[in-house]
């Protein structure tokens, strides 16, 4: 029996903008059911890496594989990816429910309306279903963004700074949510500045420094050691 394919695997992934190298020969593997945290200062390339993993940005060289299949080869394989970005990716003119129904239809989900209602229930926004995205708080926007990303139940979940701008209550909720997704077997990769949350949530933590990944081990709160990954 062959070993199961990792959810995400990058091979010598490099990305540069003009003369500036952002990512250099990264080899990252994320098996299903693992939660990976990505640390790094602003501008280290965390977002670029996440966008490469989602096939939103074409790498300069190297490749990304989802479950052993080259990413972005077929439009259908994008079904494997769910992503929460800096922004909510919901249309401001449509209500929360309409946004979810639209996304569900585009993903070809069976019974989009009931899926949308179900998700609104899950993220605790059922009462605000007909509100417009601009009318709700940052915490709720993060919830609708997550619901939007989960609409097709993707096996891979990428989150870019999901804890930014959330209060203690909100981030506690999000940690629980991500934790349960990981336990259901989703592969999760998130970026963060928050050492405590990262330490609590992630199975493996990397730091992106000088265009390369370094593995981070924690020894007690805020005490960490780096090693080349």
């Amino acid at each position: 029996m062959t070993a199961p394919q990792p959810a995400i695997q990058t091979v010598l992934l490099s990305k540069s903008f003009g003369l500036r190298p952002v990512l250099h020969d990264l080899n990252l593997t994320i098996p299903a059911g693992q939660c990976v945290g990505l640390l790094g200062v602003n501008g280290a390339g965390k977002t670029t890496l996440l966008r490469c993993l989602a096939s939103l940005t074409r790498p300069t060289s190297g490749s990304v594989h989802w479950f052993g299949e080259a990413a972005a080869d077929k439009p259908q394989s994008r079904r494997l990816i769910g992503m929460v970005g800096h922004e909510s990716r919901v249309y401001p003119q449509l209500s929360l429910r309409e946004n979810l129904v639209f996304a569900a239809r585009m993903y070809g989900v069976h019974q989009p309306e009931s899926r949308a209602d179900h998700l609104l229930q899950d993220v605790g926004l059922a009462a605000r279903a007909s509100a417009k995205p601009r009318e709700i708080s940052r915490g709720m926007q993060q919830r609708i963004a997550l619901a939007r990303a989960l609409v097709h139940n993707p096996p891979i979940l990428l989150l870019d700074e999901p804890f930014a701008g959330l209060d203690a209550h909100g981030s506690e909720w999000l940690v629980r949510m991500i934790d349960s997704l990981r336990n259901e077997g989703h592969a999760v990769c998130f970026t963060s500045h928050d050492l405590a949350v990262t330490q609590q949530l992630a199975d493996v933590v990397y730091e992106l420094r000088s265009s390369r990944l370094e593995k981070v081990r924690f020894y007690g709160p805020n005490l960490m050691m780096r090693a080349a990954a």
Partner: protein
């Protein structure tokens, strides 16, 4: 094919709720028509010669202002990234946007044609079927060029403004052909040359839609 409709429906609903683009497009069209109208203090025959060109220039400038923004709504809140992650062939998205922009241009013409008629007293409706044909073909070609170029402009973000200057030369054959054909309708000269222009319009519409369908996925990359 359903998905073409879903995206189109989403765009139309969003536009009718926010009224961000169409009203300004119509206003711009009326202003351009008025400026042209002021310049047209001419003999009836001279007006007949001019009206086609002016009409289509007004359609082009007002229409491109709208088409240029057909992707800007996607840029807000990074909806664009969400759209690109859908497991659908992105060519379908091109079709939605293309149809939506064609509808926008048609709406613009519904306002502009009577206005030009009122301002110039040139009877455009002597051959309604031919006029409709020319207008539809012109719209299809123009919105295909506009959609593809504004997708390119959106994909490069801030540097994209310059790109809209490219639309004019690319769309010139379409505008010229539509203007000439409209002039011949106004002059009541539906001869062989008229049908040549119609053929040209058809050819450009087909070419631009084909190119758009094939190249759109490459045009929206990051």
């Amino acid at each position: 094919m359903n998905k073409v409709w879903w995206v189109l429906q989403k765009d139309l609903v969003a536009e009718f709720r926010s009224l961000r683009v169409w009203p300004s497009m119509l206003l711009l069209g009326v202003v351009v028509a008025m400026v042209f109208g002021l310049q047209m203090d001419l003999l009836p025959q001279q007006k007949q010669r001019l009206v086609g060109g002016m009409l289509w220039l007004a359609v082009f400038f007002a229409g491109m202002a709208a088409i240029e923004r057909s992707f800007s709504a996607e840029r807000d809140d990074a909806c664009w990234d969400g759209l690109r992650l859908f497991p659908v062939d992105l060519s379908l998205v091109f079709w939605s946007k293309w149809i939506c922009n064609t509808i926008a241009l048609s709406a613009l013409e519904v306002v502009l044609f009577p206005l030009f008629f009122a301002l110039s007293h040139v009877s455009l409706l002597a051959h309604p079927a031919e006029l409709l044909l020319v207008t539809m073909l012109g719209n299809l070609g123009l919105s295909a060029v506009g959609t593809l170029v504004s997708a390119l402009a959106t994909s490069i973000g801030r540097g994209g403004n310059l790109l809209m200057a490219v639309v004019l030369p690319l769309a010139t054959p379409v505008i010229l052909a539509a203007a000439e054909a409209t002039r011949m309708i106004a002059e009541d000269a539906l001869n062989q040359t008229f049908w040549r222009w119609v053929q040209l319009l058809l050819a450009f519409a087909v070419v631009f839609v084909t190119v758009g369908t094939l190249l759109f996925p490459a045009a929206v990359e990051d």
